[in-house]
Symmetry: C2
Subunit: 351 residues, 2 copies
């Protein structure tokens, strides 16, 4: 066991310079080895690696960040209070995808909550200090100033769930349009005739796309969509109840409901039950998200699954690419990228 004395100066960690001396090479060469540059001979590389191992050298991140003007860290920004973060599986799935894709990288992931005004203030400071190389944005509301701030600071960012068809940030989304279509096509195939739709919050782009998918599925089946069968909801259970009540008054004979979320479907289910409708015998019910609620509902709810883990992975891929592109300072006019991932209809007893 050579080089027992890991520290050359008492208390301090070994530096590049010390590794260089030990290996009998220059500082630059050690730096090249550490950073995996190919412009080093094999013998030299081996010598340096030996010295690194002997001294237990670990690069000083702060020094690297200062010299290279990068942090090797990215932030996952959640503009929600922490409680919602823990309550919804969406976030944990997203985190799983992001984490797995990042695990063979040197990149460090920071989780930042920005639910309160105070937290948002801190976040702004944080970004202004350029403490991360890039940002992942999830669950952003249409009027959020954060995307603009990021653009202004020229920080690479990827958003999940674009705010509109003209989203300026690189984005990742699930195929809301296709998901809605598959739900409606499924109901048509089951022989349903009067299919209602309780929408999500219509200021959310994805909710709009689901309405589009609903309409087009009917049109392509040769039916004329009835606007009175489309009742606005807001992703909540209460919204589902309200909308269902309205729809039932309007069309007592409707035989299917496509809800904008599983929670909304739960609200609708309650009203249907109270009105004496059996599910699925009288009215078929389909939700969206395939959350735990869907599996545990009575009867189990047919629902559209979004590939959230995969969306997390895709976000990282796009973000890393954008960071890499930006490194050479040349702002190559890359067109914005928008990834759309396929959804899957999970059929259960409710339809």
């Amino acid at each position: 066991m050579a080089g027992h004395g890991a520290r050359s100066r008492s208390g301090g960690r070994p530096t590049l310079e010390e590794v260089a001396a030990r290996a009998g090479v220059g500082r630059g060469t050690v730096s090249r080895v550490i950073n995996g540059s190919p412009r080093v001979s094999d013998t030299t590389r081996a010598a340096v690696q030996a010295a690194v191992a002997e001294l237990g050298y670990v690069p000083n991140t702060a020094a690297r960040a200062l010299a290279a003007n990068r942090t090797d860290a990215i932030a996952l920004v959640v503009p929600e209070p922490e409680t919602r973060f823990f309550a919804e599986p969406y976030f944990s799935d997203m985190l799983r995808g992001v984490g797995s894709e990042l695990s063979d990288t040197e990149m460090q992931l920071l989780l930042i909550f920005a639910g309160s005004d105070r937290e948002r203030e801190r976040l702004a400071q944080y970004l202004a200090a350029h403490r991360v190389d890039g940002v992942l944005l999830v669950s952003v509301h249409a009027d959020d100033p954060l995307p603009d701030l990021l653009a202004q600071l020229e920080i690479p960012a990827v958003i999940s769930g674009p705010r509109s068809a003209a989203e300026t940030l690189t984005s990742v989304d699930s195929d809301n349009y296709g998901g809605a279509r598959s739900a409606v096509e499924h109901l048509l195939a089951r022989g349903r005739n009067r299919i209602a739709h309780i929408t999500g919050r219509l200021d959310v782009y994805g909710a709009q796309r689901r309405v589009d998918g609903y309409r087009d599925a009917l049109l392509d089946a040769g039916r004329k969509p009835d606007e009175l069968l489309i009742e606005p909801g807001d992703f909540t259970e209460e919204g589902g109840r309200r909308a269902m009540t309205t729809l039932l008054e309007r069309y007592p004979d409707l035989d299917a409901v496509f809800a904008g979320s599983d929670v909304t479907a739960a609200g609708a289910r309650q009203v249907l039950r109270e009105a004496g409708r059996r599910i699925p015998d009288d009215v078929a019910l389909v939700g969206y998200d395939d959350s735990a609620i869907a599996r545990h509902m009575d009867p189990p709810l047919t629902s559209v699954r979004q590939p959230i883990v995969e969306m997390g992975r895709a976000m990282i891929d796009l973000l890393l690419a954008e960071i890499a592109d930006r490194r050479p300072a040349v702002s190559r006019g890359l067109e914005r990228r928008h990834a759309v991932l396929r959804t899957e209809l999970v059929v259960r007893a409710s339809s």
Copy 2:
């Protein structure tokens, strides 16, 4: 609105030097103002602050970290897979406490999962690189090498749930002994005579302390604890079922059970029901943790609440103090601190 041109050199952020020039002072003085040193005259301070505001100056963290040899970041290390982190309210409560206590600090919190061997490898590298000023350790198993690693690297650390009575790290804990006592005293006060205890995993120090509390409560009431009424569990539902089955065979006439966790109580409840025992009429049941399970059980479960949010706060307080103490390089031989927070018995219908 003076000083419209925020940037003096194109593309770059303003530096300390530039702020100094603008304010007509030296670099050192600006540094003092930024860091809140009292050794600056009021007029000078005002001038510097004005310059900072005009230029939109934000300190460069990397430079500061390099020069001052600190990171202003601490890590919350969770030696569990992410799924458990999200599944258990323990972690989210802890995070809430930690976050709230940190919110009026410059400290940045990093959340690090170290569930897999691979992740633990990364963590070791991370700590070796001294990328954080301190570490918060939650849910550490008795044989975990992490505490030793931290001690060796001389990184300030606070552990929640000491590993033994001789814990070497600064620790925060809830009063497991007192919590158990209050549960048993409650059962005694309710007139119960044969009180069983299903323990937690006995390699967890807190579980041992609960057994101690159970015994002492009985002793102090003038009863001799019966070791055959103490059956080892492991915090799980299955363990609760197993232990309850054994206990019921041994003492068909027992009239109370104090379980080491709510989940264990749920397992015990199931066995009791199947054996035809009514809760609380025939057998009173008390759990530990006051988790969501306790509130939703039928009947609602009496349980010992741990002040987890407060524990998170206390951990931060102790850690920040330790970091501050270490800053002046003088390793003042401070005795290790061990905070113990009071528990609270939440009485519900099960007892």
